[in-house]
Assembly symmetry: C2
Homo-oligomer: 208 residues x 2
């Protein structure tokens, strides 16, 4: 490591500039919850709604991250930690670039999620707990992964053979056992509206 | 590794959708060259010009990548490879999100740069060689790093104690010994215009 030898340059365009150009705030909305709780489904549906309102968004999930950037990571606690760390850093770069990022990862460890939270100033980050009981998730089991985990075919499966630590103080909790996908999406959109992520005219409030 | 157990979801919003929303093409402009050749300076100045034209850009360079996403990597050949791989994957995600990404990294190995090129379809990627002789770079030596490398204080320094492989067929070569910064920026902007990255009205040409 020779980090002290890296030369720093002046950044000419800031996140605030990009937010002004786009006329909306950028940041990170972090969805966490068990497999099959509905994270990706909700994130992609919310993104569609945001796109229709002219808001620049991007969903980071297993599809585009585990097969690319994090293809060299497995599912051990250390690799899960590095997985979440990289996602947090990428989301930070994208938010800096003016994008409202939604992430959909189980992210089972509180410590790892808090590490991501610390990368952002408060006004540009929110943790959303997609709540669903293990029983219901196992019932849904869209790809039969819980079944494989119970049979021991898949190791370290969250909820079965690896822990899930529920958020202590998420900015929002969406219960997907009580409401359908439309209701869940509506809840997230209302929350984003309250947090001024849907403002059509961008006004600087907090700046890091 | 249990990649075969990852569930895929339908992406509802595509890069083409985002390009339409932004009214411009996204992609990756990869600057390569020796330390002190002028990569970051040119990238940041080009970004300023693009921003003024309403184009969503982002510069990835040592400042925002080596201190964040890649803070756990050093400067060995393997770590340099992983450094470039991650940058390529992040740039791919950002380009997918509608951003025109400019990267400013020495990226000394041809093989590593080609690995990044393969992540993109041709119309959305360009390699720009920021050309400057080692002699001139050593003369500039803005932070005295070449001096430290010659003294052996810094190991594996490109051009001194580690190789730099010039691009075989870069889409553009900018010689920073023959022209000043304004001239270099103009050359890049003209190139981007030719490649239709500056079009005010987005029209789909190639789609991957």
């Amino acid at each position: 490591m020779e980090q002290n030898h890296i030369v720093w340059h002046d950044v000419l365009i800031t996140r605030a500039d990009r937010n002004r150009l786009n006329n909306h705030k950028s940041g990170l909305i972090w969805l966490t919850g068990l497999s099959a709780a509905g994270k990706s489904t909700i994130a992609l549906a919310v993104e569609k709604e945001l796109y229709d309102r002219g808001i620049r968004t991007y969903v980071l999930d297993g599809d585009n991250v585990r097969h690319g950037l994090n293809s060299n990571l497995g599912f051990s606690p250390e690799d899960r930690k590095e997985n979440i760390r990289r996602i947090g850093e990428v989301a930070k770069l994208m938010a800096d670039a003016g994008v409202l990022v939604l992430t959909a990862f189980i992210s089972p460890y509180r410590e790892d999620r808090d590490m991501v939270r610390k990368l952002f100033d408060g006004d540009h980050f929110a943790e959303v707990f997609i709540k669903c009981s293990l029983e219901e998730c196992e019932k849904r089991d869209p790809k039969g992964l819980y079944k494989k985990a119970r049979a021991g075919v898949i190791k370290n499966y969250t909820g079965v053979s690896a822990p899930y630590e529920e958020p202590d103080n998420p900015e929002l909790t969406v219960d997907t056992e009580c409401c359908d996908i439309d209701g869940a999406v509506r809840q997230v959109l209302e929350f984003l509206s309250e947090k001024r992520f849907l403002a059509t005219e961008y006004t600087e409030t907090t700046e890091s």
